[in-house]
Structures are given as structure tokens and as C-alpha cells.
Symmetry: C2
Subunit: 334 residues, 2 copies
């Protein structure tokens, strides 16, 4: 069951029974627009604060996923979820009405990976029949938490990414659905000294590279084992760094790599610079692009690696570097 140094292979792989995605207008206008379960033109999602808006997205995504799995709330045993805000207030208030035990998770933008890993480990061990895994981000709540008031209209360098307004939710169970989770791999916390918070893709690339190398070693495979290796939100700058880092290790990733942050926007048309980011980025791209293509049978195996940049405004202002983390999930068509 333990594979190599940092992986687990499941004897009874959890199946993805249902998924739900909800996004904002900008994401709806992007290349994946037609594939999200819901697109809201109201950035407040009917609420009166950005935080409450993000919580409303969580409630709706969870509901869509539970319904897609043909289940009711009472048939789910645990929730594994998180967001980017201090003290995870989006998640606490977003999921309170579900009345489920909550494991609150923080892995920065890797949170959907952390949730799927722990959810799959819990389900596969027989601790739960079904679990909910969820992560969200909201452009405006993230700007408020990490950067400048929106009204300032601050200019953004080309290396920045745009925080996705979106929430993705997944229900895992023992059978049913077309996609299963066969294994997981975890990175260490990695940093190469990047301190520039406007280039988070570069900060996260080392953790993604560590995870990919470890996955290939632990399962004794090469990148062509997968249809695609999907990182979370490295964007164009981080993708370049990742490919270069792996080339140094003798691994050629070109032709096997996609990044949720690059897929979700049309950067040239939508002025999103290096790509999308935020916990919601990989979560909704999983639901709207990866899983549908696997269900259609177009792709058989995906390594899904949400990546996170471990910083806060306090750590940044105190001169700390930006370490990266990654949680990898091996998806396979049943």
C-alpha cells in the first residue's frame, strides 16, 4: 500500500461519484465556460460581502456534487475542505449548514489536492462510505486578503496570476462513477529562495518538480504513463520553471504537461497575464475539463497536482521566502 518514499497505492481505489463546479463571470467567459455546472454573473453570489459570496459558492458546489452523485447530505460522512482566507472563514461558514464533521485544510492553492488525498485515504481505509472534498477561491476576497483594495486599480506585472472565482466539489465513494483515485504522492515543502510574491508560479515549481520526480520513482513509471500531468496554477512562468527543473533531472515533460491556470483563461484576450490561480483554479478545472474528458474515455490516466505558495502578507512583509507545496492525485478511468 505504501509505495516508495512518498506515495500510497490504494488497494480499493475510491471512485469519484459526483462533482460540482461554480464560477464567476470571467471564468465563464474563458475557454472552459461551457463546461462549468454554474456560472454566476453576480460576483456577490447574492450575498453582501466577498467572504459570504465565496461561502455561497461552496454551499452551491457541494450541493451540485451531492446531487450529481445521487446522494443526500446525510449519506456523506466527512468533509475535507479549505480556502485561502485567514482562519478559513469561507469554509467554516460555507459548510456549516451541511452539518458534517469538517477537517479544515490549508495548503494554499494546493488545498484541493490535500482534500482529495486525505478524503481518498479516509474512504479507502474504510473509515467512511462517502466523503466530500472541496476547495474555493474568490478574486475579490483574495485581493482583499493579500493585496490592495480593488478600487485602487493597482497595475499587475506580467508574471502575476489572476485568482479564480470558483469552487469545485467532489464526492468520493467505493463504487460508481467513471474515474477512480489509484494513488497519491506528496511533496516536501520546497523553496529555491523566491521572495517575489508577484511570481508565485516560480515559487511553486520546485514543489511540483519534487512531486513529479517522486511519483515517477515510487511507481517506476515515465511521464508517458499519463495522458497528462496537470499542475494546479503554475501559469506560464511556473510551467517554464517546472520543465527546466525536470530537464535537469533527465525528465522531459514537454508534451505531457498541462496547467489548470493556463487552461482556465484565454490570457491574451482576458488580460490574466501568467494564468489563473487560487484554490478554486485546480478544483474547477478538475470538474470542468479533466473529469469530463476522462468520463468520455478520451483520457485514461491523469496525474493531478494542485500546487500551493505558502505565504501571507505578514511572512512576505517580514522578508520570508515563498515556499511551495504540492499534493498529487493519480486519476484513472475505471
Amino acid at each position: 500500500m505504501i509505495r516508495g518514499k512518498a506515495s500510497i497505492e490504494f488497494e480499493n481505489p475510491p471512485h469519484i461519484l459526483g462533482s460540482g463546479s461554480i464560477v464567476g463571470q470571467k471564468e465563464g467567459e474563458g475557454p472552459l465556460g461551457a463546461f462549468f455546472d454554474e456560472v454566476s454573473e453576480d460576483p456577490f453570489f447574492g450575498q453582501d460581502s466577498w467572504e459570504a459570496a465565496e461561502s455561497a459558492m461552496q454551499r452551491r458546489a457541494a450541493q451540485i456534487a451531492i446531487e450529481a452523485a445521487g446522494l443526500t447530505r446525510e449519506e456523506i460522512r466527512y468533509s475535507f475542505a479549505g480556502d485561502l482566507l485567514g482562519q478559513l472563514i469561507t469554509t467554516s461558514f460555507g459548510l456549516i449548514d451541511l452539518q458534517l464533521p469538517l477537517f479544515g485544510l490549508y495548503g494554499a492553492c494546493s488545498t484541493m489536492g490535500e482534500a482529495l488525498c486525505l478524503g481518498a485515504m479516509t474512504q479507502a481505509a474504510g473509515y467512511a462510505g462517502r466523503v466530500l472534498c472541496l476547495a474555493s477561491s474568490h478574486f475579490a476576497s483574495a485581493e482583499k486578503e493579500f493585496r490592495f483594495p480593488l478600487g485602487y486599480g493597482t497595475q499587475r506585472p506580467e508574471s502575476t496570476t489572476w485568482t479564480v472565482t470558483g469552487c469545485g466539489a467532489i464526492i468520493l465513494g467505493s463504487s460508481g462513477g467513471a474515474v477512480k483515485i489509484t494513488g497519491v504522492t506528496h511533496s516536501k515543502i520546497e523553496h529555491l529562495g523566491v521572495k517575489y510574491s508577484m511570481s508565485m508560479g516560480a515559487a511553486m515549481a520546485p514543489a511540483a518538480a519534487d512531486l513529479i520526480m517522486q511519483n515517477l520513482i515510487d511507481f517506476d513509471i515515465t511521464p508517458d504513463y499519463y495522458d497528462w500531468i496537470y499542475t494546479g496554477d503554475l501559469g506560464k512562468v511556473g510551467q517554464r520553471a517546472l520543465i527546466d527543473l525536470l530537464k535537469e533531472e533527465g525528465v522531459c515533460l514537454e508534451g505531457f504537461h498541462r496547467d489548470c491556470g493556463i487552461e482556465i483563461y484565454d490570457a491574451a484576450q482576458q488580460d490574466t497575464h501568467a494564468g489563473g490561480s487560487g484554490c478554486g483554479c485546480s478544483a474547477v478545472t478538475l470538474c470542468a475539463q479533466i473529469l469530463p474528458r476522462m468520463r468520455e474515455g478520451r483520457w485514461k490516466r491523469i496525474l493531478f497536482i494542485p500546487t500551493g505558495a505558502l505565504l501571507s502578507t505578514v511572512s512576505f512583509n517580514e522578508g520570508q521566502p515563498i515556499p511551495g507545496i504540492a499534493h498529487g492525485v493519480m486519476l484513472e478511468r475505471v
Copy 2:
């Protein structure tokens, strides 16, 4: 293995192989002073910011626990850890040098319970030989995050608790040590409408009551099954609320309840009002009071329930209530 509605009973209970605790001067002057592994008179723990000080405590507590277990860093497979600060920066920077995969957790002051639950679930399922579970808080970093600059010397009402400066760490493995984790129980997110952030014990009591009721039902036991039921940091106000809530359910907790927040300080002498709080409170009380007395054979069974108040300055200022959460760990003398 699944017990009842919200519990797990382990077929192969993980054992506590080692523990480590480090605290600040005030905690060192309290009733448990002689039982902590280390007391530092320097509130900065040799660092130059409160956040770095808290990270230094984490490094040291992890090191003490790993040494107490007779292990090296390389023999630990995963870390489960968290703190109170936005984006968990204490933990990210505190544990980076361990070079272990990290599951970042946020359960407010219940985080040590969340870490022990997920760590035990992971170890018992055979996903890891040994895991590290850790949580910390620091009075000054918490005041900076949640309240007023220390220099203001703000007055505190009698219902407030004092954030513990401390970090507790536990190593779990399959055999060895005198205490094992036989099961876990989780609460739902509960609130009865408490909005007053200076009375967090009252805000957390409903979750603790829910968890205790569920544990007694799931395992078909009464409170006298345990030597003590230990909550995390309800303090005197929360303890009263908990006892009253359970009385309404027909459960008499008097004579079976202790609270880490009450145990850790001499409130009358130390001016800590309702008691101690913070992730570190239950974590270090576990290491310095509960485990030693179990190892000595004085106590056989403890239900350890770290409790958390799910709020941030943003949610408070936006008028949200303070929901509570709890994670329960069943400890038993081997």
C-alpha cells in the same frame, strides 16, 4: 471500524511513541511548569519576530518528540500540523527544515485534535509507519493576529481566555510507548448564536457537548468509562456551559470533566481570567499532564477533546456568529 454516526474504532490502535512540549515563561510559572520539556524565558525564542518565535517553538517541540521516540527525522513519513495565524505561516516555516510532507490543518484551537485524528487514521490504515502531529500558539502572535497591539495594554473582560505560548508534538507509530489511541469522534460545526469574541469558551461549548454525546452513544458508554473527559480550552465560562448543555441531555459530567485551559494556569494568581486557550493549550497539556499520568498508570482512559472557535477578525467585524468545532481522541493506557 466505523462506530455509530461519527466515530472510528481502530483495529490496530496507533501508539504514542514520544511527545515534546515547549512553553513560554508564564506557562512555566503555572501549575504544570515542572512537567513541560522546555520552558523559555525569552518570548522571542531567539528570533526577531513573534511569528518566527512560534516557528522556532515548533521546530524544537518536533525535535524533542522525535528524540523521545528514539527516532530520526527520516523515520517519520508525514506531518499533520497547524496554528492560528493566517495562511498557517508558523507551520509552513516551522516545519520546512523537517523535509516531510505536510498536511496543513486549521481547526482553530481544536487543531491538535484534528492532527491526532488524521495522524492516527493515517497510521492505523497502514499508510505510514510513523507520523508527527503538532500544534502551536503564541500569546503575542495571536494578539497581533486577532486583537490589539500589545503596547495598547487593552483591558480584558473576565470571560476572556489567555492564549498559551506553547507547542506540543506527538509521534504516532504501531507499537511501543504506554498510551494508544483506540478511537476518534468528530463534532459537527455547532453554534448557538454566540457573537461575543471575548467569551470563546461559551462559543465552543456546543461543539464539545455534541462530540461528547456522540462519543457516548457511538461506543455505548457513560462518562465513567473515562477517568477524565478533557476539553481543550473552554475555560471556566465554557465549562459551566458544557456541563449545563449535557445536563439537558441527561448526562452528568461533574466529577468527570477537566479542561486544559483551566489546568494550565493558576487563574487567580496569574491574572488569566477564564483560563488558557490557543492551539498550544491542549497540545502542551496533553504532553505535560495527561500523558505523564497515563504513563504512570494513574489514569487508564481519557477522552481528549481540543475545541476550536471558528472566527477571524473579518468574520467578527462582518457580524458573523462564532461557530465551534471539536475533534475527539480516545486515549488508553496500553
